[in-house]
């Protein structure tokens, strides 16, 4: 095993990890940064984000409005100090990306353009056609190449976190191409590994989105916060779950049922006219729109497809020229995967799992409860999303909190003491032996990896879907415990050292089962309905601020179910109120 020293190790080469690495290099080019990613950075899942990134720019808009949209959108489970910090930094970060070359779509006068997005009162979503995540990721990656202090470890899989005397102190990696182990020792670790949507069946996520960083921190005693809040994006391709951006609706697309009826008006988001209008109908928040689909399906007003029922996303009214300018990738996806020209025919869509609101708890500097550990991006619970994230807040979050975590980690390592190298090496050897045991088991046991993975995904959909029932969540909790036991009996067909993705998938499935357990047990403990967590059992159907205006904390317990604890929500100036959209919001304002 090779041992490598760095000042800071960043795990994950997506938007948040790259932004953190650049922030460290800019803060102090003398600090060595090890940027570790299980894929080449430009493959990271930031690449698939389409619609845009939030940042207040219009004269008639305000940080206050962005704050209130975000807090109400999150059903008041947001930490308001974090939201304040966040909205205050978004625009700076969008301008920073612009200076680094991000090809933002432009207005005629040459300023970056902004579009409307769900739950946002104003146009404040910066976009690069419908390739925003792609362009942000490539801009950040290419920019990172300018900094010699960033040493990349591409296609290195992180097996474990190294912790010395209660301080995060590095990671154990395996080089995928060779199977060789490398331990990277550092005085700070920034986790930026993205979400965990692949624990569900129909999802918008890439195959790499397996919750690795969340599970690594969790196993070392860091609680995972608000994990029951999983976002279903309402407009995805039936079967594969591929995403049709909310930007489709931001640009004027409508959602209609089998009868051509704009059904969202039946679910507290109407009236449908005048159109277009912010924070109403198709520009409502994602949780409400996905929930409306669930009801339409049960009323039998949806459209059957070979991969489950759908509604229609109708973009015909935009016209071919606007579709080509604003939504080229959507046109390409509809054409290539469905044989549909959106200028001529509506696109069948249904909700699919998209985003994990919860994760590793952090303060506004990205610091996690374990000293020396930082987290940023989807793997973190920075407190800004609460019970439901608004579209375009996550791409902005990558930059705001990626930078904050990078700068804070750079400050931290100036003061932090050196680590006990001998203890870390022993720990790395131990972790290495643990993951090699999975490989050594070979063909014994008889369980098949793909079967376990499918059973997990089915069970999560059953118990932790758009609406939840206590006894179904309990089914899922039991199933996950069973799958964890069966994981020990997985038979691997591959015994090679080079590119043994079967072995790595087995390690990932272990991460996924831990994260899934945190989700299911948190969902069971939260006996109320809030944002993306909706329960149908008696007594749990409404929001219950008296008992549950709290963050959920899931603590890992070896060999057993997670222990659930709670922590306070930071409320600074927006007391929990009624979450209303469309005409209901107007009535409330006038009441």
């Amino acid at each position: 095993m090779e041992f490598i020293q760095a000042d800071i190790v960043v795990v994950g080469g997506g938007g948040a990890g790259l932004r953190a690495a650049i922030a460290i290099a800019e803060a102090d080019p003398g600090l060595s940064v090890a940027l570790v990613s299980k894929v080449y950075p430009m493959r990271s899942h930031t690449v698939a984000a389409e619609g845009g990134a939030a940042g207040v720019v219009l004269d008639e808009d305000s940080l206050e409005a962005h704050f209130h949209d975000t807090v109400a959108g999150g059903d008041w489970l947001c930490d308001q100090d974090a939201v304040d910090f966040f909205v205050g930094q978004c625009t700076r970060e969008m301008v920073q990306l612009e200076h680094w070359g991000c090809p933002w779509s432009r207005r005629e006068d040459g300023r970056p353009n902004v579009r409307a997005f769900g739950g946002m009162a104003m146009e404040r979503t910066w976009f690069a056609a419908d390739l925003t995540g792609f362009h942000m990721l490539h801009t950040l990656f290419q920019r990172s190449l300018k900094h010699p202090s960033i040493r990349r470890f591409d296609e290195h899989f992180v097996c474990d976190l190294l912790v010395d005397q209660g301080q995060a102190s590095g990671v154990l990696t395996v080089e995928i191409a060779t199977g060789e182990f490398r331990a990277i020792e550092a005085r700070a670790v920034i986790v930026a590994t993205g979400g965990a949507g692949r624990v569900f069946r129909q999802n918008t996520n890439g195959g790499i989105v397996t919750g690795d960083g969340m599970a690594l921190a969790y196993r070392h005693g860091v609680p995972l916060r608000d994990m029951e809040f999983v976002q279903y994006h309402p407009t995805c391709m039936p079967g594969t779950g591929l995403l049709f951006t909310e930007g489709c609706r931001g640009e004027g697309g409508t959602l209609v049922n089998r009868d051509g009826y704009r059904y969202l008006q039946d679910y507290g988001l109407g009236p449908p006219d005048p159109w277009p209008r912010k924070k109403a109908m198709e520009l409502g928040p994602r949780d409400r729109i996905s929930q409306a689909f669930w009801h339409e399906e049960r009323k039998g007003r949806t459209i059957p497809t070979p991969h489950g029922d759908a509604v229609h996303l109708d973009l015909r009214q935009l016209g071919r020229a606007k579709l080509r300018e604003r939504l080229p990738q959507i046109c390409e996806l509809a054409r290539d995967f469905l044989g549909i020209d959106p200028a001529e025919a509506p696109i069948p869509v249904r909700p699919a799992v998209h985003y994990t609101m919860g994760g590793i708890p952090t303060d506004v500097n990205g610091a996690a409860p374990l000293p020396g550990l930082y987290a940023a991006g989807e793997c973190a619970s920075s407190g800004i999303h609460g019970a439901n994230r608004l579209g375009s807040n996550s791409l902005a979050e990558l930059c705001v909190f990626g930078r904050a975590a990078g700068e804070q980690a750079a400050r931290y390592v100036r003061e932090a003491a050196g680590r006990n190298g001998a203890a870390l090496r022993w720990q790395a050897q131990d972790a290495r032996e643990r993951v090699l045991r999975i490989l050594a088991r070979g063909g014994a046991g008889g369980e098949r990896l793909a079967v376990l993975r499918d059973e997990m995904a089915q069970s999560m959909e059953h118990g932790c879907g758009i609406y939840r029932l206590g006894h179904e969540v309990e089914d899922t909790c039991r199933k996950l415990a069973e799958l964890k036991a069966r994981l020990d009996n997985v038979a691997l067909a591959d015994a090679s050292a080079a590119w043994n993705t079967e072995w790595l998938c087995a390690i990932e499935l272990g991460f996924q089962l831990d994260v899934a357990q945190a989700m299911a047990h948190s969902a069971l403990a939260r006996r109320e309905s809030r944002g993306a967590h909706q329960r149908l059992d008696p007594g749990c159907e409404a929001r219950d601020d008296a008992s549950f205006l709290k963050h959920t904390l899931a603590f890992h317990a070896f060999g057993g179910a997670p222990r659930i604890g709670w922590s306070d929500v930071v409320i600074t100036r927006s007391p929990p109120g009624v979450r209303a959209y469309g005409g209901a919001a107007r009535e409330l304002a006038h009441a």
Partner: protein, 247 residues
């Protein structure tokens, strides 16, 4: 089998630790009309042979991971459909012109180095503080470089490029497209420095103008156009030396 149809995939296998040379292994799998080649190889891995190695992630033709030779042509596996090749046999092989790491996985380290050589970042023509806000760039100015910015680094163009096959040091289509992406950006002022990479022996001049790179590009980046532009600019640079009175 969902609707009773099946297809045979002839997949190239190679593991340097045990195989003296690559071999072809055949797998017959059930398929439906909407199944991609990627879903086909995933079916093989999940159900028939867990040892098959290939890269993939997004499934939607944007991460650039799953480039392979499918029926002899470089394509993204996620956006190529089995129905077009049934009942097979369909030949699936790693991207040509790259060393094989294992099975369908190739070594792209050489491209990653080239990417760095073209300085793919803005060196501002006019410095601007963040407090001054965004640069102005008209939609027309954006349009000048926009298509070159669509490169997903899938490397199908390198697998299509005979010159790259002949000389792996050749800068090649995607890296040249990125060079132009920054050179044509109204905010940038470093085209001269970037042209150093293009002038050299392994720069754009060894391109033999086959144009196959643009044909296989899944994102209409048109790297052949980038290479041609760069050749023209490189020639102008060369003549400009004499106009300036030599060096």
């Amino acid at each position: 089998m969902p609707d009773g149809r099946s297809i045979t995939l002839d997949i190239l296998r190679y593991d340097g630790a045990r195989d003296a040379k690559p071999r072809v292994q055949a797998y017959t799998i059930p398929f439906t009309d909407d199944m991609s080649v990627l879903q086909g190889v995933q079916y093989v891995k999940d159900n028939l042979d867990g040892s098959l190695a290939f890269r993939w992630s997004c499934r939607m033709a944007i991460c650039g991971s799953c480039g392979m030779m499918v029926a002899g042509i470089p394509r993204l596996a996620c956006r190529t459909f089995l129905r077009d090749f049934a009942p097979g046999p369909l030949a699936i092989a790693p991207l040509e012109h790259f060393p094989i790491e294992r099975d369908l996985v190739v070594d792209i380290g050489g491209f990653m180095d080239k990417l760095g050589q073209v300085k793919p970042w803005i060196e501002p023509r006019v410095a601007r503080a963040l407090e001054e806000g965004a640069y102005r760039q008209s939609p027309r100015e954006l349009e000048r470089f926009e298509s070159f910015s669509h490169c997903i680094n899938c490397l199908l163009c390198y697998a299509a490029c005979p010159q790259y096959g002949h000389d792996p040091k050749f800068l090649g289509p995607a890296a040249t497209a990125l060079l132009q992406r920054y050179n044509l950006d109204s905010r940038d002022g470093a085209s001269q420095e970037r042209m150093e990479a293009a002038h050299s022996e392994e720069g754009v001049w060894s391109c033999t103008a086959v144009g196959y790179c643009s044909e296989v590009c899944p994102k209409a980046v048109d790297p052949a156009n980038a290479v041609n532009r760069t050749k023209t600019e490189s020639a102008i640079d060369w003549f400009a030396r004499f106009v300036r009175g030599g060096e």
